[in-house]
Amino acid sequence: MDFQLNEEQQMLQDTVARLVRGEYSFEKRLEFSETELGFSADFWRQLSELGLTAVPFSEELGGFGGGGVDVQSVMTELGRGLCLEPYLQSVIFGGGLIGQAGNDNQKEQWLAGIASGELKAAVGLQEPQSFYDLNNVETRAEKNGEGYLLNGRKTVVIGGHCADVIVVSARTSGDTSNADGISLFALTPDTAGVERRTYPTIDGAKGCDITLNNVHVGADALLGEEGKAADVIEYQTGRAIAALCAEAVGVMEVSNDLTLDYLKQRKQFDVPIGKFQVLQHRMVDMMSELEQARSMAILAASVADSEQSDERRRVLAAAKNVVGRAGQFISESGIQMHGGIGMSWEYNFAHYAKRLIGINHQLGDDDFHLEHYASLLQAS
């Protein structure tokens, strides 16, 4: 048994860590966040030049076929910097959906660009009524000549504002909550009838809502078999969950470091507040929560690219549940122990705290995954 990264994985992690340290100061992040793009085009270019946007893709696409642990190494470091670039949305999730469902033409059209960072993908699966259930789809795709006519609304599409291609789900048959009858389409946002409303998110990124109003797409936009996308969506959401958990670990690491520093520096009643036992114990709890989350992120990474099974489903649900709870505990405890400073926009901790809560609202919160896990409980 060995939980150490191998030499290549360690090099990969160090590369990202160096880049983030050099380019992603807290002040710079605030500036990136306020631009129209919402992140740093320059940083994205550097990720691409170092081959990092290609990590999970095959060698033909310029990548090295990286697995869950490689992705984990990248995501944790991006988490440490609270990086705003759409790595998860484009490289992992969007690229994953197209890679699994797309035919050769579609892969050729999109994947090389996504792997090189020249193109950015986003993923629109949620709808106003869906809550976190991705099989709950009301958006309709009707056969129209050779292609399809799309009508509906996709909501909270992180990174959708700047995406070159948005993978959306739409129903070609069945009722709202049927797993059967869901199809995936690769949509270019300049298609007539696609309307985007862009907004900032509470954790500093940008997203959009997408209204699809009689959007005509060709048959070549359909990714995979008509009506059979639910399994692909579930599988790739699992990969995205593993990556998001790894990001969360990076966010938690820095949150805990900042809080621990503060406990040592901040003096009240003539001693560092870290001398007070009630705060010591809370800090210990924060550390234990981080370690629980780290263990689950490792476990999630280890199954991210395995064949689908109930065991894989359970691990991913459990990981996201633990990460959601640990994230909220660390976010709230850290604010509490910082006092007012922890709520100040000008201090970095507040932004880590917000990202941890934000992560719980992406790809299902702790309750959602607890229920999912419970539904898969084994009798013995």
Binding site: Y132, N136, T155, V156, P200, T201, I202, E332, G339, S344
Partner: protein, 398 residues
């Protein structure tokens, strides 16, 4: 044991309801109930209405324009006003500095300041916390040095709530550095328009400008603005803190927030059904409602003991902890209830006069920001850790 209101108390409740039905402006109530932002003008408009009715200063003796409510009447007011969406009164003038002036101030100060608080002419803010003095408030460093008829004040205050609207600030300042830290503090009233005062906004993590830093550079304050005796300010400060603590439990606010949460959960869908019918979510709501029921009775027990002549002591600290935890749980659930919509942060949708299309709906827009804002509840007014220290020392004798 009788847990019911008397006939007189019921009559009072009717009077409160009639007054609120008739006089509470609808736009203000809507903002309060949906956690939208209130302007300075909103607060002042409502304060005028209350003052005309004679219900603004409920802690003051009648000779200064106060109204003599029993603890139960105050409780009824609190319950009803939260239910109706009455703005939380800005406490710094009417409920904080005024009781100190009434108890420790001289006649001239009473004549000068109390009427201006009643009329809304003065907006007060609180100069207590400093960068180095939070939980350890007695370590304030802002220095006041007597020079002839004036004190010269230098230093910095922080977390000054709504200081941007204020024209007056009451400050704890250090007048003696030779003695124990609690014994060298004085209580000064300072006009915010005095040269040398700078107010700098602190933006909080929800994007809100609610608190400020206030800098003092060679600020000349007339000695008649000293309350009570020099170096005795810590006694007055503590007296004020007991006023601050009452009401921090926010039982009425929690009840109003819980109704809002249930309305929200009856409209949001999960698996095609209202969230209120979802087993997981309804249990979460049930748990917080049960906790609130218990805390409300604890609150009533404290009120009843005061009514009978007892003193609210460290019990109110216990209630502050419980009450703020409950309020925080409710805002946590409200944020959870909107699922993915907790992520968008669309500030314009948080204003009542927003006329555009809502991303989700008017309810959802402020809920994440509100959740983060409410993290302050367990920090301010004495952090919950400090409250527990008080309880363990005063009640448990540990």
């Amino acid at each position: 044991m009788d847990m019911n209101y008397t006939a007189d108390e019921l009559a009072f409740r009717d009077e409160v309801r009639t007054f609120l039905d008739e006089k509470l402006p609808e736009d203000i109530a809507t903002k309060v109930k949906s956690f939208k932002k209130l302007s300075k003008e909103d607060h002042q408009r409502w304060q005028k209405i209350l003052a005309e009715k004679g219900w603004y200063a409920t802690h003051w003796p009648e000779e200064y324009g106060g109204v003599k409510w029993t603890p139960v009447q105050k409780h009824i007011w609190d319950e009803e006003s939260c239910r109706y969406g009455v703005p939380r009164s800005i406490p710094f003038g009417v409920n904080m500095v005024a009781p100190v002036i009434i108890k420790f101030g001289n006649e001239e100060q009473k004549q000068k300041y109390l009427p201006r608080i009643l009329s809304g002419e003065d907006w007060w803010c609180q100069g207590y916390s400093e960068p180095g003095a939070g939980s350890d408030l007695a370590s304030v460093k802002t220095r006041a040095v007597r020079e002839g008829d004036h004190y010269i004040v230098n230093g910095q205050k922080t977390w000054t709530t709504l200081g941007q609207h204020a024209n007056m600030i009451f400050c704890l300042v250090r007048t003696n550095t030779e003695v124990k830290k609690q014994e060298g503090i004085s209580f000064l009233l300072i006009d915010m328009n005095t040269p040398g005062i700078t107010v700098r906004p602190i933006i909080t993590l929800d994007g809100e400008h609610e608190v400020n830093e206030v800098f003092f550079q060679d600020v000349k304050v007339p000695v008649e603005n000293l309350v009570g005796e020099e170096d005795k300010g810590w006694t007055y400060a503590k007296y004020l803190l007991t006023y601050e603590r009452t009401g921090l439990a926010g039982i009425g606010l929690s009840k109003a927030a819980l109704s809002h949460l249930k309305r929200l959960a009856s409209r949001r869908l999960k698996n095609g059904k209202p969230l209120l019918e979802d087993p997981t979510f309804s249990q979460r709501i049930a748990k917080v409602e049960i906790d609130l029921t218990a805390a409300a009775i604890s609150n009533l027990r404290i009120i009843a003991s005061v009514e009978g002549g007892g003193m609210p002591g460290a019990e109110s600290s216990m209630l502050k902890v419980k009450g703020t935890e409950i309020r925080q749980s409710i805002s946590d659930l409200a944020r959870r209830a909107i699922g993915p919509y907790a992520l968008p942060f669309v500030e314009e949708e948080m204003n009542l006069d927003y006329e555009g299309e809502f991303l989700s709906d008017s309810d959802a827009a402020p809920l994440s920001a509100y959740y983060f804002n409410n993290r302050k509840l367990s920090i301010f007014g004495g952090s919950n850790e400090i409250q527990k220290n008080i309880v363990s020392k005063m009640i448990l004798g540990l």
